[in-house]
Amino acid sequence: MKKLMVLTLCMVFACGIAFAAEDAVKSFGVYADKRSSDNHYIPSGWMGDVGDIKSNDDSADNPHSGSTCIQFVYSGKRLQNQGWAGVYWQNPANNWGSKKGGFDLTGMSKLTFWARGAKGGEIIQKAIVGGIKGTYPDSSVSESSQIELTTDWKQYTVNLVGKDLSYINGGFGWITNADLNPNGATFYLDDIKYEMDPSLKPESKKQEAMPFPIYENRSSRNNHYICSGWMGDYGDLKLDIGSTEDPYLGETCIKITYSGKGTQGARWAGMYWQNPPNNWGSVDGGFDLSKATKLTFWAKGAKAGERIEEFKVGGLMGEYSDSDTASIGPVILNKEWTQYTIDLKGKDMSYIIGGFACTTNVDVNPEGAVFYLDEIKFE
């Protein structure tokens, strides 16, 4: 690990740059310009559908400042069958936590970056700071909410107040997915840096307004949770979040096929809708849904008679646990769309990373089960 203060002071003396040390530690660059000495991280950590990403870190196409910016072209073709992709800026390059690197950024209170889309409307699912694990894990992780880009340059901020920034190898990253960008996305990033802002207050989650959708349609920007938490005999499950087989509303619904084969030997299986994806309570995330008094969803079975043991809200436990849980079940599905409600009155919904879940098992579905879900939302 390198100490930021030591590094910046060394730079001041070694380079003889005529800025005061006090000014120097007020910001710390991730990317400034292609050949800038203030670039402290390398965009080497490609993730997910890496074949869907092309980048040009020397783009002269209308940079926000200086002579270059970084262009990313995300095709959304799912070449590695992941459905999502992203890039981490790392130090040293390709460091997924296997070696010591990174910086001590203690004292910084936010990360800012400028971004624009080629056409406008491109969606970055989230910008991320830290969060790389491994033998030398980052000391914290912070994420932005979803970002919709415009054709004009706009500055975005990740609040870092109160975060442990003593070791940050993943200096910056972005993640998006094909559902949010079905036709791909071309976007530009520039002037990515950490900044010290003493006036900035710790970020508290705002109470979300109701209704608050979990799933509307495959590509809906209002889908706030991702069906990423596969449980039990996950090999028995097939998930299609874009099924066009008679959705209840809109263009698509969710189709879940459970084979009941017991692939992993658990004899049960289930799915969690999480925020951020794959968050089993290991990272901060989720939403403050204190205004919710119920969760409603529509469901039906392919044949009728499929039995779902439990539909559930919250209940994820880990270092960051859901503040409460509620459930209904068992439920025997009808062949017609039927609305179900999970009562949330009296529940503490102030911190929910597991927005929705369903589980079933082979004992009650010996032939497996095919069922559909749609319009899952907090109200």
Binding site: Q264, W280, G281, S282, D284, R307, E309, L316, M317, G318, E319, Y320, S321, D322, S323, D324, T325, I328, G329, P330, V331, I332, K345, G346, K347, D348, Y351
Partner: protein
């Protein structure tokens, strides 16, 4: 529990003006600082009747408990010999000031299954329970009665499924759950009333797995005095206290909670991990005791699982394994996140929940030598000086 001042019960639960609940024992507030107690020696199985152990393990354990600050033990059932049971309860109380929470399974493990809808079955269990109460109610060491353990997990058929023709006729599984809940909790309520009639001195606690199905209990089980929850949620209890306030406003006792001391991921003992979780859990219990403005004020204390390791638990039907301290795990609980990366997430090591370890090489007073783990000292210190400010992140 209602009683005139002249005939005040020895143990009662008082509802304070601020709606908080407080346990009163011999006219003084009493916080349950307890452990679940089932001192099965290495090499013995679940059917071992430790009450009849000639070496009287409670004498050694009681002393260690007293030094730690334990004031209560929970036992799951009495023994076959009533005099031995009285001896143990009496010794613990007279020698060490430790009271006993006496439990009854309510036939949950009867074969082929508990038939709570069957009148004969109910009568059999009723007689067992009332006989138990009559036998021990005058023991000064008795603190309260706990009816059931996790019997509510049978309502959805997940464990020890039971039914009756009326339930079988119902097609909607949610309604089936509600019917089972109504039958079971009504039965518990009838037991509570009968216990109160013969023993006004000790509260009756509904033993319940998690806070599950308490919305049904609220409708038909008003005569219980407190809810005993078995909770394994990891570092904290989330919204349990306020949730119970809303669902079934009765005082809460943790009849089981805790953490094991084996890191299933690193495959080695980790006493720090156990101590961390236990301290955090005790802190939340204290935050929600009566007269703490920041808590729900409905908690009476807890009985952590458990005092000593039990070496028979991982393979309970394999006597050869009772002499082996198995490191296997049969279930996963991501709330205990430090070793949840273990294979298949299985991180709960049943044979390593003891605050006190057992030695398989040293015998003292005829018993496996007791070796307190770090949690013993951490909780001892916490009880001496309960710091309620959390060190945790959200």
């Amino acid at each position: 529990m209602g009683a005139s001042k002249a005939n005040k019960p020895a143990v009662l639960i008082k509802k304070l003006k601020n709606n908080h609940y407080q346990l009163i024992v011999n006219n003084k507030p009493y916080v349950i600082k307890g452990v679940c107690y089932n001192p099965v020696p290495i090499g013995q199985g679940h059917d071992y009747d430790w009450w009849a152990d000639p070496y009287k393990p409670w004498l050694v354990d009681g002393k260690l408990m007293q030094e730690m600050g334990v004031n209560t033990i929970r036992v799951y059932k009495d023994g076959t010999d009533g005099e031995s049971v009285k001896q143990a309860i009496g010794d613990l109380y007279k020698l060490y000031g430790i009271r006993t929470v006496m439990g009854h399974w309510l036939g949950f493990w009867h074969y082929p299954c508990p038939l709570y809808a069957d009148v004969d079955f109910q009568d059999t269990i009723r007689q067992e329970v009332l006989n138990m109460v009559k036998a021990y109610k005058d023991e000064p060491g008795i603190l309260m009665w706990v009816l059931g353990n996790e019997n509510n997990y049978s309502f959805n058929g997940a464990v020890n499924s039971w039914s009756c023709p009326r339930i079988d006729e119902e097609q909607d599984p949610i309604k089936r759950v509600a019917m089972r809940a109504e039958i079971y909790y009504s039965f518990v309520n009838s037991l509570a009333k009968e216990i109160h009639a013969i023993d006004p001195n000790h509260p009756v606690v509904l033993g319940n797995g998690e806070a599950k199905y308490l919305e049904y209990a609220a409708l038909v089980c008003p005569d219980i005095d407190a809810i005993g929850c078995i909770i394994y949620r990891g570092r904290n209890f989330a919204n349990l206290f306020n949730g119970i306030r809303f669902t079934f406003d009765k005082p809460v006792i943790f009849t089981e909670f805790g953490a094991d001391s084996y890191d299933a991921f690193k495959d080695k003992e980790d006493q720090n991990m156990q101590a961390f979780f236990l301290e955090s859990q005790w802190r939340e219990i204290y935050q929600n005791l009566a007269n703490n403005k920041e808590g729900a004020g409905n908690c009476l204390g807890g009985l952590s699982f458990e005092w000593t390791d039990e070496w028979w638990k991982n393979k309970e039907y394999d006597p050869d394994s009772f002499k082996v301290h198995d490191t296997g795990s049969n279930w996963s609980n991501p709330g205990f996140y430090m070793d949840n990366q273990a294979k298949d997430g299985k991180n709960m090591n049943e044979e390593w929940f003891g605050i006190v370890a057992l030695s398989d090489t040293e015998i003292e007073s005829g018993l496996n030598k007791r070796i307190p783990r770090k949690a013993y000292y951490i909780i001892r210190d916490f009880w001496k000086n309960p710091l309620l400010k959390s060190k945790k992140k959200k």
